[in-house]
């Protein structure tokens, strides 16, 4: 389908349904309110068809290029219809599950995820396995008809709202590193799963510490090959870094426009203000242009890989530079001001600090660029 026609039809529909799609809460909303509204928007998009394009027919989609999904995410984020974070989960997890899980499993579980009826989460990190993900130790042992999972995960975002978790487990010998990891699709309401949310520094219960105590997982919930979970985890990254980043970039664009409007209205047209805004804009456009290229490569059937580390560093730089610009150009807003607008800036400012941590830290990305793209040989 022609992208511009699709975009026009979509924006017409979004405009016509603005009353229904605009968040009913003011400002940022509570997490419960946000998640409920996210589900509502996803459902509405699904029913109107727009939310089904770019997904294969085997999981209830209407087919077409993944660029269509990126456009839906972009337009929704530009209008501030939902918080982008819950939306990232489907863009990150569903394509990989569709590619690696048994077709019946995808056909059964992806549609409710796509419709917003259910949420999924990603159980990768552990207390002792952060950047060094391949050292994870949460164990899955073979049992009659499936696996028994025991161990601990941490930073699992949105688990309290989730029905399913894409879980990385150790199935090989303890020292087997990336060779002995298996991915499973686990029902969060299975007996033996317990979690306690962790409060973030921006005052939210975004993620949780999770315990798995002899949790039974049926064998058809295997994602990919046994001991082939690392491959699946690595395949997730490019998805995370295409449509998802594009959406986040759209949110950043909206926030930059908000900042420009606020500074412009305040009459501060000083050289410092202009330069700060120009730099924030230029970093964002460098990301946007790169991300556009990345998605066109994905769309043309190319395999995305380690080069998406560049996209990750570019969006991190853009996000952190933007919110530092906010702090510098709206003095006192982050530190002291009251009201919804200030609260929103403050939340976004604080959340921007996580950009260089989640999804692989900036240091780890630079290690990848050095080793794999610049071919600098091993570190000493």
């Amino acid at each position: 389908m022609d992208l511009e026609t699709f975009r026009r039809d979509l924006t017409d529909w979004l405009d016509a349904n603005a009353d229904d799609l605009t968040p009913p809460y003011e400002g940022f909303g509570s997490m419960d309110e946000q998640m409920a509204h996210y589900a509502h928007v996803k459902r509405a998009l699904f029913d109107a068809g727009f939310g089904r394009y770019g997904w294969p027919e085997s999981v209830g989609g209407l087919g077409g290029s993944p660029l269509l999904r990126a456009i839906v995410g972009e337009e929704a984020n530009l209008r501030g219809l939902t918080d982008p974070n819950p939306w990232t989960m489907i863009e990150v997890l569903a394509p990989t599950v569709i590619e690696f899980a048994q077709p019946e499993i995808s056909a059964r579980f992806v549609p409710p995820f796509m419709r917003g009826d259910e949420m999924w989460c990603q159980g990768f990190s552990e207390p002792d396995a952060g950047s060094d993900l391949a050292s994870l130790s949460c164990r899955a042992t073979k049992t009659d008809g499936g696996w028994l999972v025991s161990g601990q995960k941490i930073w699992t975002s949105f688990i309290q709202y989730s029905s399913r978790c894409v879980l990385l487990t150790r199935t090989g010998e303890p020292g087997s590193a990336h060779r002995g990891i298996t991915a499973l699709l686990v029902d969060v309401d299975s007996p033996g799963v317990s979690y306690s949310p962790i409060e973030t520094m921006h005052g939210r219960l975004d993620f949780a510490e999770v315990h798995y105590d002899e949790v039974f997982v049926p064998e058809d919930r295997l994602i990919g090959e046994e001991n082939g979970g690392w491959q699946m985890a690595m395949d997730i990254l490019p998805y995370e870094r295409s449509t998802t980043f594009w959406q986040r970039g759209a949110l950043l664009h909206r926030r930059l426009s908000d900042l420009v409007a606020q500074v412009s209205a305040s009459g501060n047209h000083s050289d410092t203000a202009a330069k700060t805004l120009g730099q924030a804009y230029q970093s964002l456009m460098a990301f946007r242009s790169r991300s556009r290229d990345t998605q066109h490569r994905l769309d043309s059937g190319q395999q995305l890989g380690v080069e998406t580390s560049i996209d990750k560093i570019l969006i991190t730089t853009a996000e952190q530079q933007l919110f530092e610009a906010v702090r510098n150009l709206l003095p006192g807003v982050i530190e002291f001001h009251e009201g919804l607008t200030a609260a929103r800036w403050r939340t976004d400012y604080l959340y921007s600090k996580a950009a260089s941590i989640y999804g692989g830290t900036s240091e780890v990305q630079r290690n990848i660029v050095a080793r794999r793209l610049l071919d600098l040989g091993p570190e000493s």
Binding site: H253, V260, A274, M285, I310, V369, G377, P378
Partner: protein, 333 residues
């Protein structure tokens, strides 16, 4: 006029351009050979791709061929001619926006034109100088005879570059308004995109030199490429280069002036960052006159200043945003 040219043909041209430029690195030395290769025809047929190809080659070879005036002249709708020299005023970016259609364009005929700016070595053979001045309603394009500027100008930090800095005073009656439909703004945009490609080509050359040195140089029993601080410097350079290159490539056809400014600014920043990191990685060797690194460092400094630098452009871009009251979404999927 076709905007499209076969990618294979362009790659072949690029190889010939690079060979010619590498043979004749000095100011203007490669010009004639490039004309013979069909630079003029290529620029007329596909201005964006032609400039991207030729200026990337300038960057990677370190050549000082004077192709910028052709790009500017083409964007101004002037016929291709090696006899035209462009005087790039230092403060062109302070010029107010172009006049609205229908408004009169008026020179102040009483005052002589005074410009501090840059000319290339073409000034020594050119017949005509083209430049821009503050008109009553915006930038006014004008031209005058080149003869009296022959041999003048200071070459500065990079004598091997084609550009010289000078101050000019021309009495008003020597000025001829330029008859063209094109705007100075579109010429600035075309020049910025071309120069962005040159900066990126140069940055890629510096990064490649630093990378090879890091792999070859052994200290403490290891190649210095194995030290994380070195690795991260080179990685950061590549990230900035790729971000800038993507924006420059998004400017291939009729770039929005704002996007062209972004491309030049990002490319300047990427090249300056890469120069700093490469210098540190090359260490003592990179500080010698013998190693060719210093030639690229100096070229980067000069090219960065042409048509707006990484230091001045962000403020220009930011003022544009403040005037609009929003941040335009320029690049679409």
């Amino acid at each position: 006029m076709t905007e499209h040219i076969d990618a294979d043909d362009l790659a072949l041209m690029a190889a010939s351009f690079e060979a010619v430029m590498a043979e004749a690195p000095g100011p203007g030395e490669a010009d004639q050979a490039l004309y013979d290769l069909g630079w003029g025809e290529l620029l007329a047929a596909a201005p964006g791709p032609a400039a991207a190809m030729a200026f990337s080659a300038l960057g990677t070879t370190g050549s000082a061929a004077t192709l910028l005036e052709d790009v500017v002249a083409h964007a101004l709708g002037l016929p291709f001619s090696p006899d035209v020299c462009v005087l790039i005023p230092d403060t062109f970016h302070a010029i107010p926006a172009a006049p609205q259609p229908g408004e009169p364009r008026i020179f102040n005929q009483e005052e002589p034109l005074e410009v501090d700016g840059l000319v290339s070595s073409r000034i020594d053979r050119a017949a005509t100088v083209v430049t821009v001045m503050d008109g009553k309603y915006g930038p006014e394009l004008t031209s005058f005879e080149a003869g009296f500027l022959r041999g003048r100008g200071a070459t500065g930090v990079d004598p091997a570059h084609a550009y010289r800095h000078l101050s000019v005073r021309v009495a008003a009656h020597f000025l001829t308004p330029l008859e063209t439909e094109a705007t100075w703004e579109s010429a600035v945009a075309a020049a910025r995109v071309a120069l962005a490609h040159q900066l990126i080509g140069g940055a890629r050359w510096m990064l490649a030199e630093a990378r090879q040195h890091a792999l070859d140089r052994v200290q403490f029993g290891h190649p210095v490429a194995s030290f994380q601080s070195i690795r991260h410097k080179l990685a950061e350079s590549l990230v900035q280069i790729e971000g800038a290159a993507s924006v420059a490539e998004a400017c291939l056809h009729d770039p929005d002036p704002l996007l062209a400014g972004l491309a030049k600014s990002l490319a300047g920043q990427a090249a300056l960052t890469t120069a700093t990191h490469a210098q540190q990685v090359l260490a003592g060797m990179g500080f010698t006159a013998e190693h060719r690194f210093h030639l690229w460092l100096k070229r980067t400094l000069v090219v960065d200043t042409l048509f707006g630098s990484a230091n001045s452009l962000p403020a220009e871009i930011g003022r544009d945003l403040l005037t609009r009251g929003t941040a335009p979404r320029l690049i679409q999927l």
